[in-house]
């Protein structure tokens, strides 16, 4: 246990060593907040004991919005000012919103630009970020009341397929709600973390998420505590509601009811269908009655009624497996997420498709939030560093340009982040006082084939001979993928740095393309790199010999001079179009031929120094 110190009376009760951090599942239909309570991470209830917060916000003319259960009635009474499923609106342009399959009952603010749509409500224009922020704020207040303290950070989950814009808007919403985002975590990853699958060495996990209105399947690959999303698939318009609808149709058919249903009849029927669905999760057979019809339904019948829907979910699983080039035998664990996975018919279908029972012992409504809470607790620093979870990887290598337009990779692709790596570089020319750093991203060996991220300069390097200066270049990628690069000249401490967001604007298909091109060109790149390196070595030697000749050329006799000149000439010629091996061979020749010259120079300098010439003069004469 934590060690306690004696406090002053009436002061803060017991020192809170524990830093408060929550996990938030910002869902399409419902949202949840979780935190470490006592022995484990649990979802936090509101004053009425409800854990789920419907993701619904109702705006009114008199100010503060209603969020959650209090806003639900607004969907019927006041649809223009009540927003549900705002998650679907994140990161979309106006025309994208107007083309959504659902008919949205609201008016969009005509003043807003195409790229930042907002809904006109009685309380003013509300954009998706603002609406999400209202939901997040409600959860934040709940957590602070429950945990009795101010939150220091939150992990918020997002669907694995969310793009940069959607992720950025989620972060913006959190900021607006006054939350410090520790990390955005992919929902399927959160679910796997909740089951502790991250503590296993490696494995493949299929996360099957069937919620109220959306369906997602994700395949994750785990390597040493790092999850990578291999493939995702799903249907943004398939969920529990569709199962209710199918059952309602069946009841109508059984009852021989042909007339149009009015609004309240439909509501009663939908409620009945939902109740039947819930009860069939508990028992295998059920008596049902609607109006003057009554009958029984079994789970077998129910699975026939929903056969089409179930088939759609299984087909998605099959497709996702194919996308990841995996078979069912590769899958080590299946995690069920979303309330609809309570249905025995779904569990059976999943188990029979994968020939394996899915993990179900955590409430499927809460599993994502719990995983986020576990991650939040780790990220805020309540756990020791040895069980620190590293869940993200950088998608492409990061490096800098070196002489010869080559790329020196500093952080290789698939390195877990956060990460910091440093490497020492040196000057290429004598007396070089500045260094230009070009930060690039990609897998290819040559700069021109990689993506340029930034350029900056380090100035004020003291003049030294080539290779004597030590410049430490450090790369740091934080948990959100933000890269900072710093260069420092070690003898003077001169520094320069820059911050970059490497993944910004990089679509996943572009990443894919960059990877593919690096694999296809690996051999060519290797050879090119080898040639460039050999050319560089040769240039350096030729430069050094030229310098030495201009200062101490008198110690060479004509014959020796000719020999060296000839070797230099041959090498220079070869550098233009020969293979790396040939260049290396000739460089070696030149090195051997000039070796005697070098040692005689050394003797000469020592001799001069002994004769009383100052070191400065020696140094000047050789530079």
């Amino acid at each position: 246990m934590a060690l306690l110190q004696i406090q002053e009376p009436g002061g803060k009760p017991a020192k809170v060593l524990h830093r408060l951090a929550v996990g938030i599942d910002l869902g399409t239909s419902n949202s949840l907040v979780s935190a470490l309570c006592g022995t484990g991470v649990e979802t936090l209830p509101d004053d009425n004991g409800q854990h789920l917060l419907p993701s619904v916000v109702r705006y009114s003319a008199d100010g503060s919005p209603l969020v959650g259960y209090a806003a639900l009635s607004g969907l019927v009474d006041d649809p223009e000012n009540t927003v549900a499923s705002s998650k679907r609106l994140l990161g979309k342009s106006l025309s994208e919103l107007q083309n959504l399959p659902q008919v949205l009952p609201f008016k969009f603010d005509p003043e807003r630009e195409e790229t930042s749509p907002a809904i006109s409500t009685v309380s003013g224009s509300k954009d998706p970020v603002q609406i999400s922020a209202d939901i997040l704020e409600k959860l934040k207040v709940r957590a602070e009341q429950c945990l009795k303290g101010e939150l220091e950070g939150a992990v918020i989950t997002v669907p694995a397929y969310f793009n940069d814009a959607q992720r950025q808007q989620t972060k913006d919403a959190a900021k607006l709600a006054g939350l410090n985002v520790l990390r955005l975590l992919n929902e399927p990853t959160a679910a796997a973390v909740a089951y502790g699958l991250d503590s296993e060495d490696q494995g493949k996990v299929c996360v099957f998420d069937l919620g109220g209105g959306t369906f997602d399947v994700s395949l994750l690959s785990l390597q040493k505590g790092v999850f990578e999303v291999l493939a995702t698939g799903g249907d943004t318009n398939l969920g529990g509601n569709d199962f209710d609808h199918a059952l309602a149709q069946w009841i109508l058919q059984q009852a021989g009811y042909n007339a149009e249903l009015d609004f309240s009849e439909r509501a009663i029927l939908n409620q009945l269908a939902m109740d039947v669905k819930h009860q069939l999760s508990e028992q295998d057979q059920l008596e049902i009655s609607w109006q003057d019809w009554s009958g029984t339904i079994t789970n077998t019948e129910y699975s026939e009624i929903c056969a089409e829907l179930i088939k759609r979910t299984i087909n998605t699983c099959r497709r996702v497996l194919r996308d990841a080039s995996l078979t069912i035998n590769d899958i080590d664990n299946i995690v069920l997420v979303g309330g609809s996975t309570r249905m025995p018919v779904i569990r059976q279908a999943v188990a029979s498709f994968f020939s394996k029972e899915a993990l179900t012992n955590i409430d499927p409504d809460k599993v994502v939030a719990i995983g986020a809470g576990i991650q939040a607790d780790v990220l805020i620093g309540n756990k020791s560093s040895n069980n620190f979870l590293l869940l993200d990887v950088n998608p492409l290598s990061l490096g800098i340009e070196t002489m010869g337009e080559l790329v020196e990779k500093i952080i290789p692709r698939n390195t877990t982040i956060p990460v910091a790596r440093a490497q020492e570089f040196t000057t290429f020319k004598d007396g070089q006082t500045a260094m230009s750093l070009h930060v690039v991203q990609g897998e290819r060996e040559l700069v021109e084939d990689c993506r340029s991220l930034a350029r900056f300069e380090l100035r004020g390097i003291p003049a030294m001979v080539a290779g004597a200066a030590k410049i430490r270049v450090s790369f740091q990628v934080d948990a959100d993928g933000l890269l900072s690069v710093a260069a420092e000249e070690l003898s003077t401490g001169k520094k320069a740095e820059i911050q970059i967001k490497p993944s910004y604007g990089l679509k996943s298909d572009l990443i894919e393309e960059m990877l593919q091109s690096s694999q296809e060109n690996a051999q060519v790149d290797m050879e090119l790199r080898s040639v460039k390196e050999a050319q560089l070595e040769a240039t350096q030697l030729i430069d050094a010999i030229a310098n030495a000749r201009s200062s101490d050329g008198e110690i060479l006799n004509t014959e020796e001079l000719l020999l060296i000149e000839k070797a230099v000439e041959t090498l220079e010629l070869a550098m233009k179009d020969s293979s790396a091996n040939k260049i290396r061979e000739l460089t070696e020749d030149l090195n051997r031929i000039s070796g005697d010259f070098a040692s005689r120079r050394m003797d000469l300098h020592i001799g001069r120094a002994l004769k009383g010439e100052s070191i400065d003069e020696v140094a000047n004469s050789s530079s």
Binding site: M1, I6, A14, V16, H18, C37, G38, G40, C146, N382
Partner: protein, 108 residues
């Protein structure tokens, strides 16, 4: 019902009380923390509250309010060093589980 304190812990309490200059003893209690857990309270006592129980062990007065007593009856208080940290530690026979950081506990 009783609480106990080790010789070593008693010595540290006595030292801290004397360097503070005043105080009857120390209060040991529990407070709720998080959503379900409880955390220990450890503070100096300048005046007794109604219902406070006072235990004396190794010359140190340990004061407990009756509500807390049910959760921590039988607890032994020790003073330990863990690396660079030192402080008081409780061994509570009632605690069924502790949270990761050891800050809170539950009595199940």
């Amino acid at each position: 019902m009783a609480l106990s304190i080790t010789q070593n812990a008693a010595q540290h309490v006595a030292e801290q009380l004397s360097s503070r200059g005043h105080g009857l003893g120390i209060r040991v209690g529990v407070t709720t923390t998080g959503c379900s857990g409880m955390a220990y309270v450890l503070e100096f006592v300048d005046k007794l509250e109604v219902g406070d129980q006072v235990f004396e062990d190794h010359g140190v007065k340990i004061i407990v309010d009756p509500k807390s007593l049910v959760y921590i009856d039988g607890t032994e208080m020790d003073f330990v060093k863990q690396g660079v940290n030192e402080g008081f530690e409780f061994t509570n026979p009632n605690a069924k589980g502790e949270c990761g950081c050891g800050e809170s506990f539950s009595v199940g």
